[in-house]
Symmetry: C2
Subunit: 236 residues, 2 copies
Amino acid sequence: MNLLIRKLEAFAEFDDDDRRALTGLCVRSERMRAGRSLIREGDRPDHVRVLLDGWACRHKDLPDGERQIVAVMLPGDICDVQIFILKEMDHCISLLSEAEVALIPKDEMQGIMDAHPHIARAFWWSTLVDEAILREWLVNIGTRDATRGVAHLFIEMWLRLRQVGLADGNSFFMPLTQVQLAETFALTTVHINRTLQLLRSDGLIKLEGKRLTILDVKRLAALASFTSNYLHLDRR
Amino acid sequence: MNLLIRKLEAFAEFDDDDRRALTGLCVRSERMRAGRSLIREGDRPDHVRVLLDGWACRHKDLPDGERQIVAVMLPGDICDVQIFILKEMDHCISLLSEAEVALIPKDEMQGIMDAHPHIARAFWWSTLVDEAILREWLVNIGTRDATRGVAHLFIEMWLRLRQVGLADGNSFFMPLTQVQLAETFALTTVHINRTLQLLRSDGLIKLEGKRLTILDVKRLAALASFTSNYLHLDRR
DNA sequence: CGATAGTTTGATATCCTTCAAAACCTGTGG
DNA sequence: CCACAGGTTTTGAAGGATATCAAACTATCG
């Protein structure tokens, strides 16, 4: 089942016609290896991309070689509904794991939004949620210390994956390396490593290979003072 | 002249009909005192707000009393084109200065977007730019140190104000107090104060009262390694 | 089974914080 | 027009979270 539909249905109620249209959008898809770059800063994309499977991230590469990850994209996520409105990309998108990526020509995208108001609304919702997540990440990086920030991110990932049915209880596939976690929090690998050890030794998480398990949701959420309102998962 | 139109014209080419429609949107406006709260977390807004004059900010208030400013809104900026899509607000909006705020009922907003595709496109553009600014702020808070981050923000403010004709050469009205700057960078007032002193003593800026002057644009931009692409100011 | 990526550890340095107080504005009421 | 109040800016000294550097250890994969 198409995870884009599954994701949008957290917000929208689709009829069969809507679902058929969305399925039709994603017929042209390609399997890609981890690490591959999807879009580079300066590109002028004329396709919208949808992650049907696998993880990706948006990142900014700075002149001094530093990299900041500014968003993590999970299965079902869209790379910018209306991206072709902008002249050129101001950041890059790369794959964090092997992935299945659908390519949607801009005209088809425009067509479906004109013909299906429910879908257009759902895309607006998805854009607004992306922005809300970005705001919460500002708090993660700014106000919260390393431990609370990482705790917060792990809960966010878990909820977003549950939304598309990809969480296995309290446990899920989480392909970010410590280097990449460091790049999302603008900390060093060393400090991320010590932070993870702390969360582990407190019995809050288990992280083996690329599998993350939240051992104590309540305590982890309390530590991060997590509230899920910014994800806007509740249908009205 | 309506600053909303002026702002959107950085991207869109409007005809007289479009302009009339946008002017009609902003007829109901109210003058409000600095510090006033426009929207609170948990609110269920049914109006879109437009800043016709004055500054505002989006902020998140955390349980421990900390506050993180996650966006600064300048004259001409819109408080969420499609905000009524979400069930409730996940953050607050407050005024940073005395301001003139227009209230647009959601139906009117929807109506104008249906009837004027150019305007709908311009609103999408404005939303995408807001998101791009948020990403750049992540870099400001995360990767850049205090001096470079503040330098970067000042240049951004200057360019955004120029866009709507509110910069007086290299100098502009900038109402943020050091406390509020500290809240946007998640630093302490003490450190912001020392950062400002550094920028001043380097001959990069002058900041007297609420008036900021960029004394050396080139050096300030170089310090922040500023590139303006994320503001997407260039019409295609 | 060697190469390469990812994780872990220790010791020292730095940016930023904390606490506490003084100095400086700016507006308001008498 | 002065005096006071509250917000804002500035300063100093000491402490803490995270960085830096460098190296060892451990997976993973062709």
